[in-house]
């Protein structure tokens, strides 16, 4: 009788996943391995694109170069995946960074390429946003890699702030860009 009157703590409901149907596989909540942009990129995976004006063309250029460097066959299929993803929620941020990407079957690790656009190009979907850096990447299309995929998105967004993009657009050589990125991550 006395116990019954004691204020009971809320009993936590059983985890929803035990009783509910999930439509897609759930992502592991384990902490993802750390990401370092400077290690993913190399000088041949950094492009300075001063004259470009069209986002679609820039994406195609980056996909083609990335597939060539990484020896991925059928770059058109990769491009198609990236453009499909671009039909969803915007991948452009108000910091001036764009993050087109795709999850690809058959690859085992993240492959990325950076395009620097000193003049900036207008995002066709969000005209009030100007893209001055485009970080395009492919990540493995497996559930266990999704956490890493999200961390990369977050990390790249955090690193590529407007001031930093200013520095990148002032660089004259891909190696200089890469050095700036590595120094930024180290700090």
């Amino acid at each position: 009788m006395v116990d019954w009157f004691k204020k009971s703590k809320d009993k936590k409901a059983p985890p929803a996943e035990k009783s509910a149907k999930t439509v897609e596989p759930r992502v592991s909540t384990a902490t993802a391995k750390s990401v370092a942009i400077g290690k993913i990129l190399s000088p041949d995976l950094v492009l300075l694109l001063p004259g470009e004006k069209d986002k679609g063309k820039v994406v195609e250029l980056l996909v083609t170069r990335l597939c060539t460097v990484k020896n991925f066959k059928d770059s058109s299929a990769f491009l198609k995946k990236v453009m499909e993803r671009e039909q969803g929620i915007s991948t452009t941020l108000d910091t001036g960074l764009s993050l087109p990407h795709a999850r690809i079957d058959g690859i085992t690790d993240i492959a990325a390429i950076l395009g620097v656009l000193p003049q900036g190009i207008q995002d066709p979907v969000q005209p009030d946003m100007t893209i001055r850096a485009m970080f395009l990447f492919f990540s493995p299309n497996i559930p266990s890699a999704f956490s890493h995929h999200l961390h990369l998105l977050r990390h790249v967004s955090a690193v590529f702030q407007p001031d930093f993009i200013d520095q990148l657009t002032s660089a004259s050589h891909p190696a200089e860009v890469l050095e700036l990125i590595r120094r930024k991550e180290a700090s």
Partner: protein, 666 residues
Amino acid sequence: MGQRKRSATRVNEVVVLTTAMLTFISFWRAGAIVLCDMASTAWYIGGIAEKAIGQSAPWFILAVMTFSGCMLAAYIEAASMFVRGGVYKVVRAAMGGTVAKVSVSALMFDYVLTGPISSVAAGQYLAGLINHLFPVFRIGWQVDPHAFAVIFASAATLYFWRENIIGIEESSAKSLGIIRLTGVMALILFAWCGYTLSVRGFQWPPFSLKFGSHALGWLEHVDWAHSIGAVGVMVGLGHAFLGMSGLESLAQVYREMEAPKLKNLKRAALFIFVFAFTLTTLSTFFAVTIIPDAMRQEYLDNLLGGLAMAQEGPRWALLALHSFVVIVGVMILSGAVNTSIVGANGVMNRLAEDGILADWFRWLHPRFGTTHRMINLVVALQILTIVLCRGDVYLLGEAYAFGVIWSFVFKITALMVLRFKDRSPREWMVPLNVRIGSVELPIGLSMIFLVLVAAAVTNLATKKIATISGVIFTAAFYLVFHVSEKINERRKRVEEVREKLNLRYKEDITDVAAEAKKPGRVLVAIRDPKNMYPLYQALETVDADKEDVVVLHSRRAHALQMGGDVGSLGPEEELLFTNVIAVAEKYGKPVIPMMVVSNDPAYAIAQAAQNVGATEVVMGASSKLGAEVQIERLAMTWGAIGQRVAHPVKVRILKLGGVKLECELI
């Protein structure tokens, strides 16, 4: 750096919404609010019942208080069906708007009289004590009990009017304190009674009915009625039904009860039953067995005071006991005024939600967020009643029973109808249900109904003042509600009722950190008023003692209109936040509703989550885009905001039926 123009996706201004409806109380406080009405009847029911039916009154009070357990069971079933319940909602669901308006009109009569009878009785007790103490201090004055009662009752009513304008949390705390003190007083008084009986001996009160003048009302000259014992029993019960007043307040405070709601409701009901039964029954039994008959007649308006003075012991000790009983009586009876205001306010809110009362009544106090206009109306009627009754407790008591018993009749009838009309599973049902095939017969409810109807019909015939005043008052209120409803219809108020909210502007989103105070903070993003699923899930699992729940809505605005202008809430947003509050009430867990304006909901969520220090973010899955795409955008905006976050944040994207996606952002 100065060349680019950052788009208007980031949030600057935030609106935090507040309402007194998001304050939740423990079952102790909820029970105390009800007991301040129900248990306070112990101070006057004995005298009123004995004036009407003689020395057998304690037996009838015992029967009624036992029956109150059955009524409490019915209220639990009704409350489990309707969070914002009460007799109006239940009767309307079962029997339609017209009957519901009649029932609530009768209930309003109950509430309007509860305050005056309690406060006038308190005034009578106080006057009696003062008149006892004046000679002790050699003061040659005597106060007129009736005049004193009117003045005191008015003052007490105005005090609790102010308390309710401020908000329920303050008044429920005081109610709890009053009940605690009443418990102490009861223990001392009953222990002393036990001692007195051990010295003097004990005799049970007689069973025989002895009707006072006017106790039979219109049946006084109906000879056949006198010969039917059952009629006499029902008349007796009818005069003791006052003991069950206050139960409707349980339905009104249920929405304020904290989680787990139904469990706490049952605890509150048990607490109320045990306390009221023990106090009311024992005090009236002791009064009849201890106070000599001749002395008791002088104390019928002041029965427990008489009980104190009739004990064994030195006079100074009896005066001290008398003083204690009166002080506690004054406090609990005054607390009943508070309960009546709380209850009436709740009932009128239900009516306003249905468009019965003009919207003018629902406007919140600009400072305290309470429905002050409704409170003002009820208090005004109570003050008027106090003045008109001229301090006569018996007069008030007789009139009071009308509203009590007829609101019960309507409620039980509605519950029985709903058993057949609404076959959805109940969280709890009044026991004694017999299943025959596919039909479940509510035997328990039927028995309660029969007793109530018998007592109600008997009361109609035997309580002239109650019947006349009750019918007039009920008709008047019904007319007001009916006309008000017609006025609302003519104004084509077809929109759904919205919760009235106060808006607090924050110029900088970084200021929202102060809104959440608990170590855990869960941010729930809500977009669609019809899809509260993420909030349901969050409140289902959150520990309200350790975690704050921030409910965020992001209003989209075109870039040209941007300037961070949140302005006032639009109709869709009012509906959304009304539904948010309804869900919070259902779980009995407070939430902090916020609204921002942003072109990008992901930015809004990320900014709000980081600034509030969220440990978890919950949102619904988009059917168009997919959960993975949603969380990718959140991850991007999370990083783009550029704030350092001290701890990993769990993100859950929910779809009806279960978790769709769950991850951590560091």
